[in-house]
Amino acid sequence: MSAIAIRNVKKSYGGTQVIHGVNLDVAHGEFIVIVGPSGCGKSTLLRMVAGLETITEGEIEIGGRVVNRLEPRERNIAMVFQNYALYPHMTVFDNMAYGLKIAGLSKEDIRARVHKTAEMLQLTPYLERKPRALSGGQRQRVAMGRALVRDPAAFLLDEPLSNLDAKLRVQMRLEIKQLQRSVGTTALYVTHDQVEAMTLADRLVVMHDGVAEQIDTPLAVYSRPATTFVAGFIGSPAMNMLPAEAAGDGRLTLATGASIALRGVRLPDQGRKVILGIRPEHLAQVPAGEADLELEVIAVETLGADTLAHGRLGGGDFVVRLPGSSMVQPGDRLPMAIEPGMAHLFDAETGKRLPDDAPAAAPSRQAAEA
């Protein structure tokens, strides 16, 4: 039995459908991150699980119980909001104790649980303070504490780190992950930040226009994106996309007219229009004769650890991640090779990934190359 099951859930406002049938099974203790650009329906999906939005169609189950018609308080979930939603007129202690009081726990029980949670979050010195006397990070912790103290069946987190500055965000990200691991409670986490998504998730749900485009582990989403949208959204800088056509002889003809041989990738039948996706980190600078592509560099960003060279190729922007020691200058022509097996092919019309897991074909091609 899964902790949370979302079955073909749809949401419409008036006549406009905003979520078009999402399916998701969450295992007990799993950390699921729902990621997508703003307006993709990720928050709406979370709010439907919380019971703050009605479910137009489909079913949501929490702990084996269909909750479609249950009030939020009957669902045994806790939520952390983007603006924390701390009760401003209550002390930290009362904020955390609020749900427990309503649940009818004894005074001693409430004290014990709040103090234990506060201890875990290093909030003990602040228990008598009002939220306005706390820093952003501390408020964030109180919001987490309010969720933790109730020991719910699932945590729902709606962009909980967006209001923090960059440094604090990284720190809280780690803390949230560790907390969730140590209490072992199932978590649904919504964010638009792909780094947060990658680092936190056991599994990612990448949403786009009300559709879950891919549900998989962060590494699988990164290494085998299911659609061009996922490919462009996960990974920074974004994956380079080049329109191309299969030439049939193990080569691709780019829209620019250039022809390249792809190693370690299964190519579709001749004449099929495809989109070739290459991550900036999967290109290497090579001697001119061995190059698959040549990029004219327009701008260079030196990040220290690595250097990003920006240019244009096939009518679109193109980025390459080079070692930090690279001395590339704007105006340089960069000959580059694609690392074997690191090219992604998508159907030009549907944007869907082309099947590349053909166990029979792979060894023979390697044999041919050898």
């Binding site: 919380a50 806790a78 939520m79 909001f81 983007q82 939603a85 401003p88 007129h89 609020y98 749900g99």
Partner: protein, 293 residues
């Protein structure tokens, strides 16, 4: 950060303040000073001359049984008006806050009574409640209730309280609605997820967060009930029957302009001013402490 405005000319700021200062001086300080001055004088029966009498006007009114009665009447009247108008307005605002379809129409309708002048409101209520011609009075008679505000002091009080409270509901409603809309939705949602039902959310989250609004309205409503209800009382009951609806402010008018006892009337005004100042100080000092901002 503090923002400081600097003017090129030294006189300009005073010039800009002048209209407001002039209005305050002409309509507040001057009459107040006049009242203070009049309160220690006694005019002769024909109004030709004034005689300085010290505090004897105060002595006279403070030993006057009718004046002390008016204090009690005012206390009952003001608390009832304030409570009824604020409670009704809060209820309506909470309801209107939850309406989605046609919300603007409801809001406009509820705000409308504020545009009605006190005297007009009084006349309107008379039309409805007058024992011989009133529509509501007729139905009360049908229901077997002997309604007669022209003879029964309690009925008269109920009538002026209702009319005065009704007029103030719109104003209170507007502020309560704004206050409600200023409460972040996510707070209510968080409380809902924490397990609080509708009533508990209102009692433990919404009402405490509304307290700045409630406090402000309390001050405004008490001042309203003290002073601005004159028109309603004057048109509906003229302070009767048998002084049952004679509030302090109505007595100032009745003694001064009807009874032509200017000294006593002025002394009453001075006491009234003192009472209101005192009330406001008490409110700010003792009630504001319990307000969560």
């Amino acid at each position: 950060m503090e923002k400081r405005v600097s003017f090129n000319h030294r006189l300009l700021p005073y010039l800009l303040l002048l209209p407001q200062l002039a209005v305050t001086a002409v309509f507040f300080f001057w009459p107040a000073a006049q009242a203070l001055y009049q309160s220690v004088l006694q005019p002769d029966p024909f109004g030709f001359d004034n005689r300085f009498v010290g505090l004897s006007n105060f002595q006279y009114i403070l030993s006057d049984r009718y004046y002390l009665e008016a204090f009690g009447t005012t206390a009952i009247f003001s608390s009832l008006v304030t409570f009824i108008s604020m409670a009704t307005a809060l209820f309506l605002a909470v309801a209107a806050d939850q309406v989605i379809r046609g919300a603007n129409a409801y809001k406009t309708l509820i705000i409308w009574p504020y545009a009605v002048a006190p005297a007009v409101a009084g006349v309107m209520w008379i039309f409805m409640m007058q024992p011989s011609i009133g529509v509501i009075a007729y139905y009360m008679k049908v229901a077997g209730f002997r309604w007669n505000p022209t003879l029964d002091g309690t009925h008269a009080m109920a009538l002026v309280v209702l009319a005065s409270a009704w007029k103030q509901i719109s104003y209170n409603f507007l502020f309560f609605l704004a206050g409600l809309q200023a409460i972040p939705r996510s707070l209510i949602e968080a409380a809902a997820i924490d397990g609080a039902g509708r009533w508990l959310r209102f009692r433990t989250i919404i009402f405490p967060l509304l307290s700045p609004t409630t406090f402000f309205l309390l001050v405004v409503n008490i001042a309203y009930a003290f002073f601005e209800t004159f028109g309603v009382i004057h048109t509906m009951t003229s302070g009767g029957p048998g002084r049952s609806t004679t509030t302090l402010v109505y007595k100032v008018y009745a003694d001064g302009f009807v009874g032509q006892d200017l000294g006593s009337s002025a002394a009453q005004s001075v006491i009234l001013m003192a009472v209101v100042s005192l009330l406001t100080i008490v409110q700010f000092r003792y009630i504001e402490r319990r307000v969560h901002y």
